[in-house]
C-alpha cells in the first residue's frame, strides 16, 4: 500500500539546483576532445532545382575540414529519405526530407551541403562561399491558394498539391441541416506560428570505429525516434546507435521529429573520424524547424430554435508545408477535436491536406487542436449571436453531462481507438470558470466601462483534449549499491520536470525521499524502447510505468529482506531507505545492504532461493487516450482607436485527472496560456507571395513577454481516469488549446458596439482597426 507523502504535493523540483547555478548541460555546452563544428548551406529559394554545388573556395578556407554535399554522404544514404513518422493510407505522396537535398529544394532553408570546420565561426565563413547553381521554380505560398487550379506545385514531380484527403464523421448530417431552425456558416483561419523553445535544436555525434557504433546527443523530445531513423538510414544494429538527450531547453512539439541534421552530423562524424557538433542558431530555427497552425475551416452548424446543435459539417484545408514528417496526423487530430465538450448528433468533415513550399508542419503545443477549438468555439459564439443568447448559455445547452461518461463520440481517434471520453464534468468546469471570472457581473462592468469610453469584453473557450497516447512508455527501477534508487526511462524531458514527477511516484511506493532517487531519462542506452515526449503523454505513460515497476520493486525488496531475516514477507515493512521486521526494535536492512547482497559483492551472501534481482521494469500500455478538459475565460480591454488589446484577467479551470504535483501543473497551464496568447495576439509567421519567410528574427516574430501575459487564476478539478493506475491525464498542452478562442471571443465581445466579427488569429491591432473600419463602412452603406 502506498502512502502519498509526495504525490499530490507541491514538491520542489530536483532539476532546479543545477539549472539555477549554471551547471545544466545543454547540447551546445558539450565539448568533446577534437570536436569539429558544422554550418549548413541552405536554400535561399522556396522552390528551386540545382545541378552543381561549387565548394572549391569553401574547402580552401581557414579551419575547414570538409564540405559535404549529398554526393559525399555514405553510399548507404543515397536515395534515402528520413523515416516517415506516422504512415497513413490516405497520404498521396509520402515524402519526407532527404538528409541533404540532391537536386530539388522545396522550402527556404532546406539544406544542400554542410561545412565542417574547427569552429562554428569558421564553418559559417566557408558556408557563405559555397556556390549553388539555383534555378528557381514557382512556389506555393499558402495552403488555400495551393489547392486552386493552376497553382504552382510544391514538388516538381507532382501535378497538384494534395498531400492527402480524409473524411470523417457520424450521424445523418443532411437530415440535421434539413431540420435546422438556423444554420450558421463561417470561414475560420488560424495562422502559422512556431514553437520557439529558447534553446534551438542541435546534434553532437561521435563514431567509434572499433565497435562500429554511434553515440549521438540531440536536443530532441524523442531520442528513440532519432535512433530509429539513424538505424534505418545507416542500416545498423540498434545496440550500435545510442541517442542521448542532454538538458533540453524547451521543446513544445517541433523537437519531436527527426531532422536531416540528426543524420548528416553522424555521417560527417563517421567520415571524418572526429566528433562533430551542430548547434542550430535562431535564424536557422526560423527557417527550418517545423511550424504549425495554418488551416482554413469552412464550417456550418445546424441548430434548433433553442440553439441546440443538430449537426456540424464543413471542409478543412490543412497546410502541411513541404514535407510530411508526421504524415497527416495533425488535421486528423483537428477534425476529431472539433466536437469538443458538446453533444453533436451529426458531424461530417472533409479534410484536404495541402503541400506548400513552406517549412513542414508538425505538432506544436496543441497539435491541430487550438485551430479546431477556435473553429468550434467561434461557431458557438456565432450561434449565440444569431439567436440572441448568452454564449455561456448556448454552451450549457449543448454540454455532454458528467452522467454521460464514458461518452462515445462516434469517431475513431488517431490511435485507432474510438474517441471515448473517459471522465470529466464539462458543465461544472464552465460553471466554475464563469464564477471565478465574475462572468455574471460582467455586463454591468462592461456597461460602466463603456460609459467611460473603454471597451472591455469577455470570452469563453472550452475544450476536450485527447492526451496520454500510447503506444507505451517504459521505466526500469533499480536499487543501487549506494542505497539510492535509480529510475531509467525513455522519456526525455524539456522542462516538464520528469525527474521530479517520476521520483514523486516512486518515492511514495518505496517510502523514501524524492532526493534519494536518481532519474535518468532520454537515453536509448539505458532504456531500449521508448516513444517520446509529445501528446501530453509522459505522466500518464512513464508515470504509470514507474508506478507499476515501483510496486514490483517494493515486493522484491520486501521478499529479499524477509528471506534474509527468515520471516514471511508480510512481516517486514519499508522504512526510510530500509526494510525492517515489523514491531518495535525489529532488525532492519538498508537498501544499500540489500543492493550489495544482490550485486555479487564478495562477503554478501544471498539467502537461499533468492534471485539477485533488485530491479523491476514496467511498460505501461494505455488502452486508449485519456481526455483532459477545461474552460478558459478571458477578459480584455481593446483600444478601439489603435486596436491594442490588453488582457485584464484570465481564468482557467483545468481537469487533468489526478494531479501529481500541483505546482508543476500550474506551471504547465500558465506557460501554455502564454503560448496561446501568442497565437491569439502576437505570433505569426509571414511569408511573401514567393514563399519567402519574412518574420525571421525575434524583432519581427513577436513572442509574449512579461508585460503581455497576465497571472492566470487556475482552478484544478480532478476527474481521475480509470484508464491508468495513477488516474492522471495529460497537462502540457491544455493551457494553449482554448486560449486563442477565448481571447478572440473577448476581443469581439469588447467590440460589440462596432458589430465586428473576428474569424482569424492572431488578431493584430492593425486587423482590429481594419475590421472596425470595414464594419463602420458597412453600417453607413446600410443607411
Amino acid at each position: 500500500m502506498s502512502s502519498t507523502a509526495f504525490v499530490g504535493q507541491r514538491v520542489k523540483r530536483l532539476e532546479d539546483p543545477d539549472l539555477l547555478t549554471g551547471k545544466g548541460q545543454f547540447l551546445d555546452d558539450l565539448k568533446l576532445p577534437g570536436m569539429l563544428e558544422a554550418a549548413f548551406v541552405r536554400s535561399p529559394f522556396a522552390h528551386a532545382t540545382f545541378t552543381e554545388i561549387d565548394a572549391a573556395e569553401a574547402r580552401s578556407m581557414p579551419g575547414v575540414i570538409a564540405v559535404l554535399t549529398a554526393k559525399d554522404l555514405p553510399p548507404k544514404m543515397t536515395g534515402k529519405r528520413i523515416l516517415l513518422q506516422v504512415p497513413h493510407p490516405q497520404i498521396t505522396y509520402a515524402v519526407t526530407q532527404e538528409p541533404l537535398a540532391t537536386s530539388e529544394v522545396c522550402f527556404v532553408g532546406e539544406a544542400v551541403a554542410v561545412v565542417i570546420a574547427e569552429s562554428r565561426h569558421l564553418a559559417e565563413d566557408a558556408a557563405e562561399r559555397v556556390i549553388v547553381d539555383w534555378e528557381p521554380l514557382p512556389a506555393a505560398s499558402h495552403c488555400d491558394a495551393a489547392l486552386k487550379p493552376g497553382a504552382p506545385v510544391t514538388h516538381a514531380c507532382m501535378t497538384d498539391n494534395v498531400a492527402g484527403r480524409l473524411s470523417l464523421g457520424f450521424g445523418d448530417v443532411e437530415a440535421a441541416f434539413r431540420n435546422a431552425a438556423h444554420v450558421i456558416e463561417a470561414r475560420y483561419e488560424p495562422h502559422r506560428g512556431t514553437g520557439h523553445p529558447m534553446e534551438c535544436r542541435g546534434v553532437v555525434a561521435v563514431y567509434d570505429l572499433v565497435s562500429d557504433a554511434f553515440r549521438i546527443w540531440s536536443s530532441t523530445q524523442t531520442p528513440h525516434n532519432t535512433q530509429r531513423a539513424v538505424i534505418d538510414m545507416f542500416g545498423m544494429a540498434e545496440d550500435h546507435v545510442r541517442v542521448i538527450t542532454p538538458d533540453v531547453g524547451g521543446g513544445f512539439g517541433p523537437k519531436n521529429q527527426v531532422y536531416p541534421e540528426e543524420l548528416v552530423i553522424p555521417a560527417a562524424a563517421r567520415l571524418l573520424g572526429r566528433p562533430v557538433k551542430w548547434a542550430e542558431d535562431r535564424r536557422e530555427h526560423f527557417l527550418t524547424t517545423t511550424q504549425e497552425r495554418d488551416q482554413v475551416w469552412d464550417v456550418s452548424a445546424a441548430v434548433d430554435q433553442d440553439g441546440v446543435l443538430l449537426g456540424v459539417r464543413g471542409t478543412l484545408i490543412h497546410d502541411a508545408g513541404a514535407y510530411l514528417p508526421w504524415g497527416i496526423i495533425m488535421p486528423y487530430i483537428s477534425a476529431t477535436t472539433l466536437p469538443g465538450p458538446y453533444k453533436l448528433p451529426a458531424y461530417r468533415m472533409a479534410v484536404t491536406v495541402a503541400f506548400t513550399n513552406l517549412v513542414p508542419t508538425t505538432p506544436l503545443r496543441g497539435a491541430g487542436r487550438p485551430q479546431a477549438v477556435f473553429a468550434m468555439e467561434r461557431l458557438m459564439d456565432a450561434v449565440a449571436q444569431k439567436l440572441g443568447l448568452d454564449p455561456a448559455e448556448v454552451r450549457r445547452r449543448n454540454f455532454i453531462q458528467a452522467s454521460d461518461m464514458p461518452y462515445d463520440m462516434g469517431l475513431t481517434y488517431r490511435d485507432g481507438a474510438p474517441v471515448m471520453y473517459d471522465t470529466g464534468d464539462y458543465p461544472e468546469a464552465q460553471a466554475q470558470a464563469l464564477s471565478k471570472a465574475g462572468y455574471d457581473d460582467f455586463p454591468a462592468r462592461q456597461k460602466a466601462a463603456l460609459a467611460e469610453g473603454r471597451h472591455i469584453g469577455i470570452g469563453i473557450g472550452n475544450y476536450v483534449e485527447g492526451t496520454g497516447l500510447g503506444p507505451f512508455e517504459g521505466a526500469t527501477l533499480r536499487i543501487l549499491t549506494n542505497g539510492r534508487v535509480a529510475i531509467y526511462t525513455g522519456a526525455a524531458a524539456a522542462g516538464q520536470a520528469h525527474r521530479t514527477t517520476l521520483a514523486q511516484i516512486c518515492a511514495d511506493e518505496l517510502n523514501i525521499d524524492v532526493t534519494d532517487i536518481d532519474v535518468v531519462g532520454g537515453d536509448t542506452g539505458v532504456m531500449p524502447r521508448g516513444a517520446g515526449t509529445y501528446a501530453s503523454r509522459i505522466t500518464v505513460n512513464a508515470g504509470s510505468s514507474v508506478r507499476i515497476a515501483s510496486v514490483e520493486l517494493r515486493g522484491k525488496a520486501l521478499a529479499l529482506a524477509a528471506a534474509k531475516f527468515d520471516v514471511k514477507p508480510e512481516d517486514v515493512e519499508l522504512t526510510h531507505g530500509a526494510v525492517r521486521i515489523k514491531g518495535e526494535q525489529g532488525d532492519s536492512v538498508t537498501f544499500e545492504e540489500l543492493a550489495k547482497m544482490t550485486s555479487g559483492m564478495p562477503g554478501y551472501a544471498l539467502p537461499k532461493g533468492v534471485k539477485p534481482d533488485l530491479e523491476a521494469s514496467g511498460y505501461f500500455t494505455p488502452p486508449q487516450a485519456t481526455y483532459s478538459n477545461g474552460s478558459h475565460v478571458a477578459e480584455v480591454e481593446v483600444d478601439a482607436e489603435t486596436g491594442q488589446v490588453k488582457i485584464l484577467k484570465y481564468t482557467v479551470v483545468h481537469d487533468c485527472g489526478t494531479v501529481i504535483n500541483p505546482m508543476l501543473v500550474d506551471g504547465q497551464v500558465q506557460g501554455g496560456v502564454a503560448h496561446g496568447i501568442g497565437n491569439a495576439l502576437l505570433e505569426r509567421m509571414v511569408f511573401d507571395e514567393d514563399a519567402n519567410p519574412l518574420t525571421t528574427t525575434f524583432a519581427d516574430y513577436l513572442m509574449p513577454t512579461a508585460e503581455i501575459v497576465p497571472n492566470c487564476d487556475i482552478v484544478h478539478m480532478e476527474s481521475p481516469t480509470p484508464l491508468n493506475p495513477l488516474g492522471a491525464k495529460g497537462a502540457g498542452e491544455g493551457g494553449t488549446i482554448p486560449a486563442p478562442a477565448a481571447i478572440v471571443a473577448a476581443v469581439e465581445n469588447a467590440l460589440t458596439p462596432f458589430g465586428v466579427r473576428i474569424t482569424d488569429c492572431p488578431i493584430t491591432p492593425q486587423r482590429i482597426v481594419e475590421l472596425i473600419s470595414a464594419a463602420q463602412d458597412t453600417t453607413q452603406e446600410d443607411r
Partner: protein, 183 residues
Amino acid sequence: MIIENTLNLSLAPDDAWRTLLNIPYVAPCLPGTKLTAVVDERTYEGMVDLKLGPVSLSFRGTAVIEDVDPEAMKVRVSAKGREDRGRGSAHATVTFQLHPSGGGTRVEVATDLNLAGSIIQYARGAGVVTRTAQQLVDQFAKRLSTRIDSGEEPDPEAIKVGSLLWRGLTARLKGGKQDVPDA
C-alpha cells in the same frame, strides 16, 4: 515581383533596337553595375553593387540575351546574380518591347524580379526592398534614355536614387570607407 516601366527615346525604332542589344552600352545604366566580361555575343558577366541603408551588397552574375525577335521588336534578357557573401540571390527576366512613337521609340520594359535570401527575409524592410527595386529599374530607364538622348555616360560613382536610397557603388570599390557608428 513585376516592375513595369516605359522609356521614350528620341531614336528611331531601328536605331533604338540596335542600341538596346548593345549590352556594354546599356548595362552601366543600371545603377552600380559594372560589366566584367563578355563571354560571347549573347552572354555577359558583371557585378551590381548597391547599398540598402547600412547594408552593402555586391551581386555577381551573368546576363544572357535569350530571345531576340526583330520582327516583333522584342527582346528578352535573363540575368541572375549571387550576392558575394551568399546573403541573397537575384533572378530577373527583363523584356523590352519597342513601339514606334512619333519620330522616336517607346520602349516598354517589364522586369520580373525574383529576390531571395536573407536580405529579403526581413518584414520591416520589405517595403524598402520593394521600393529600392522599383527605383533601381526606374533609374535604369531614366539613365538609359539620358544616355541615348545626350550621349552622356552614366556616373559610375555614388548614384543618388530618390532620397539617396541607393548610393551606387560601394565604398569598397571606391577604396573609400563607411564610417557609420551604430546604436
